[in-house]
Symmetry: C2
Subunit: 242 residues, 2 copies
């Protein structure tokens, strides 16, 4: 749909009209990290009875596609609402890590191998890195909820050394399931690198590409994290990046 | 902060690095529409006791800055999760309606008067219209929760006739408080024009201007509405950063 900008002859690098939703649906019986609260979504008023539809939403702060803020693991870390909104808009590289067996850890070597396949030039300071493990294809299969591909602490260190802004992954957690030490989370969050978890399988559309990525969480004050809407915007090749 | 794009000499019309948050904070004791559920945000695990911060979020679907989907008033209307994400990104005109006395209705004439003051050219098909009433300056004052400036049904009809995409307002509802017929909501939603309510007073920064507006709600399946993060991105006048 043309919303009227084209006639201005502004050259756009970002194709907003082709934006793709990377967000899992929030619904009853959706997958959650084992031990997290079971979300409950309930219609409380209906058009037939009350003339209006209204609902109650009851969910843990890390339900569905969501952001982890530094406050998740650090009492003095930045809370969710204090991350500037401009940080939630940025270019991202989508790494294809689906060559890993489900349940394995992503090492620095795996990241370098995936990076080498991207069409983009090198990772730039401030880039967002999105890891497609393929586990999102298995969303809804309970056995995967406690056995999914994760980023090792060493992998996290490599990304921190490259001064990325944020790291995303397409399943419930970026950490090895059941970790007691949470080394991957801590490595990223201690360096102010926020985390996006449970991206949907739509991420596969952008393997090895550079996209504009937006991931706006609800503004939960002093939050450790919160559900977000994550969106990929294709970058046009010809229109204006030269 | 330079995230590395400037050296590419891409011409940007939208200044993402200067994005401004238009979202109210979600917190206990925040204002809600009278009769709506009182939200409860509660830390359930803490770093000192559990090594991690986690929280529960309990809130009505129309709490804080939020979207109303057609499903809010029409059983066959589009639910929140079926509005394409590209519709949540678009250019908006910010109208200054703060000349109205708090509690008055915004008429078609008021809209035309405010439109005439904008720096932009005419309203275009697909534009988003954001109404700054000034009530957002009074956020937190309980007496305003049942007496705020609203859009009349005739005003809504005018905007529908101009084929706008969405209409936003900077207080709890776009409708006259206590309306039993909900004519303003129904006029907009029946025509697929979604509504953004409870924008923050930061909207005042952009009076009479055209901006890029983004308002991503969480992806509540079959939802009547849901909290969103609303963001204004300034449009550079000279078309570029180079």
């Amino acid at each position: 749909m043309n919303y009227g900008n084209k006639e201005k002859k502004i050259v756009y690098a970002y194709d907003f009209e082709s934006a793709v939703d990377l967000t899992q649906e929030l619904e009853n019986d959706m997958p959650v990290y084992p031990g997290d609260p079971i979300p409950v979504f309930k219609r409380t008023k209906t058009i037939s009875k009350n003339g209006v539809n209204l609902s109650d939403l009851n969910l843990g702060s890390h339900t569905g596609t969501h952001i982890d803020a530094p406050r998740h693991f650090f009492e003095e870390g930045t809370p969710l609402d204090k991350i500037p909104v401009s940080d939630f808009i940025g270019e991202a590289i989508v790494l294809d890590l689906s060559f890993k067996t489900v349940g394995e850890g992503i090492s620095p070597e795996d990241l370098e191998r995936a990076l080498a396949k991207t069409s983009s030039s090198n990772l730039k300071v401030g880039d967002i890195v999105l890891c497609f493990t393929g586990c999102s294809r298995l969303w809804g299969r309970p056995e995967v909820n406690s056995n999914f591909t994760y980023l090792t602490a060493e992998g996290a260190k490599l990304l921190v050394s490259k001064r990325v802004r944020a790291v995303g992954i397409d399943f419930l957690s970026i950490e090895k399931f059941g970790s007691k030490t949470h080394d991957t989370h801590k490595e990223l969050l201690a360096h102010g690198v926020f985390i996006v978890e449970s991206l949907s399988k739509e991420l596969e559309r952008f393997l090895n590409q550079r996209i504009l990525f937006m991931c706006f969480p609800i503004k939960f004050k002093d939050g450790d994290g919160a559900p977000c809407r994550a969106v990929a915007v294709p970058i046009s090749q010809e229109g204006g990046r030269d």
